[in-house]
Amino acid sequence: MPLALRFDGIEFAYPHGPPVLRDVDLEVQEGEFLAIAGPNGGGKTTLLRLALGLEHPSRGRVELFGEPAERFRDRPRLGYLAQRAQLGIQAPATVREVVAAGRSALKPFGRLGADDREAIDRAIERVGLITSAGRSLTRLSGGQQQRAFIAKALVADPKLLALDEPTSGVDVEAQEALAELLGRLHGELGVTILYVSHEFGAIEHVVERLVLVRERIVFDGPPEALPGVWHDPSHVHV
């Protein structure tokens, strides 16, 4: 199976700051569903940003589908849900308008074609929001808003779906629904999923592999092999 992601001897520190990550070696195969967890400040979001080429490592090399992450060419095929993903604007955008924004990098100019409109409807349908497609996001629940942003991440037929703390700010019921949705999408699309969260209880039964980060990788394996006390990431000490 070809590699989706490869970290080789990564070290990272913000300017004038202490190291955030050290000695990180990690390989993720295409089609894997990987959860990256760890305590707050442990470096998991930085790991994701390095994977997406948004940060540059102080040392080491990050490869995305065989290319240096910072110079990865097929960027429109990276689906990304940012931490606390919410509408960055105050204007009332509809679900369809938000999802359509996910096609902009694929087709930055000109009018959307029939294929784009089909892809938008398909993505909205996949996340179960087709009946709300014309509604403003401001009138939807937190969980529904997250689904709209996942549809936006899916609409360009991504090779990689990267989600940063997708369950923050949503209730337990919505977290479970999101886990079920991601499990289903992974099964249907075979897309590589990187799921970053400080807690992974809701997602534990759908991910194949769990990586715990606290400056270094302190656990890498199936969730069922995780030592009991580490199920609460704040207890992860090295």
Partner: protein, 266 residues
């Protein structure tokens, strides 16, 4: 009032400004940079002063200064030399201070200066109209071409960056368009009030709109309505057009806020 050529010219120029200002303002408001127009406007004031000092048409020097100011604000923001509001403050105060010093050196602290600061319906010439129409049309075409990419950045800047959209360039385009709008609008609305015409119609439209498309459409309708109504009132009541236009827009904002409140109670 249309028997007078100056009114026909003012209305034609005002229509372009009424269309363009809310379109550009839409992106400023979404980026929470509503006050950038004020910052750029103050740099444009320094440009007007420089024009008086070196004997070039202040309209052109103001346009150049506004674009330089916009680029400076964007550079300070993106290179993290200063937070957004600090970058704005630096450019804002430097612009007004530079303007005061230059205008004093040029000995141009006179009534004519006030037409640049607050607008005047008497000052739009045929050459002004041609310049406003060409630059305004160019700016609107640019927004139309980049609309989807600009919206993608407004909706989710980080997601757009991950997807490979040239976010710093697109942000620079918005700031430059703001500068251009100020440069071409100052004869009608005035440097100190044009920022309001970019922002107030948008925040009014957001109160009653139901989608991005409707927000932009209503913003333009409110902007255009404010300019045309404001110019008419200005003519009959002998009031400065800039203030009248902005007060009309504020009135429409209050109306939209009222509609939103009533709708919320139903």
């Amino acid at each position: 009032m249309f028997e007078f050529e100056f009114m026909r010219l003012a209305f034609a120029a005002g229509a372009v400004v009424g269309l363009l200002a809310p379109v550009v303002g839409f992106f400023l408001v979404q980026r929470q940079m509503s006050l950038i127009g004020d910052g750029i406007g103050h740099v444009a004031f320094a440009g007007v002063a420089a024009g008086y000092l070196i004997g070039i048409s202040p309209v052109w020097t103001a346009l150049v200064a506004a674009i330089l100011g916009a680029v400076a604000i964007e550079w300070l923001r993106t290179h993290r030399k200063a937070a957004g509001d600090q970058a704005l403050a630096l450019v804002f105060y430097t612009g007004i201070a530079g303007g005061v010093v230059l205008i004093s050196s040029a000995g141009a602290l006179n009534a004519n200066l006030f037409t640049y600061l607050f607008g005047s319906i008497l000052t739009v010439s045929r050459a002004d109209l041609l310049r406003i129409a060409l630059l305004g049309l160019g700016a609107l075409v640019l927004v139309a071409v980049l609309l989807r990419a600009l919206l993608a950045v407004a909706i989710d800047e980080e997601g757009a960056r991950v997807a490979g959209l040239p976010v710093p360039i697109l942000n620079g385009v918005v700031s430059t368009l703001a500068a251009l709008t100020i440069g071409i609008s100052m004869r009608i609305v005035g440097i100190l009030l044009i920022a309001a015409l970019m922002v107030v119609p948008v925040i009014a439209a957001q109160r009653v709109a139901w989608s991005l498309r409707s927000t932009m459409g209503l913003s333009v309708a409110i902007g255009l309505g404010s300019v045309l109504t404001g110019l008419t009132v200005s003519y009959y009541a002998n009031l400065p057009p800039g203030g009248t236009i902005v007060l009309t827009a504020t009135g429409l904002f209050l109306l939209a806020a009222g509609v939103e409140t009533v709708r919320g109670r139903l």
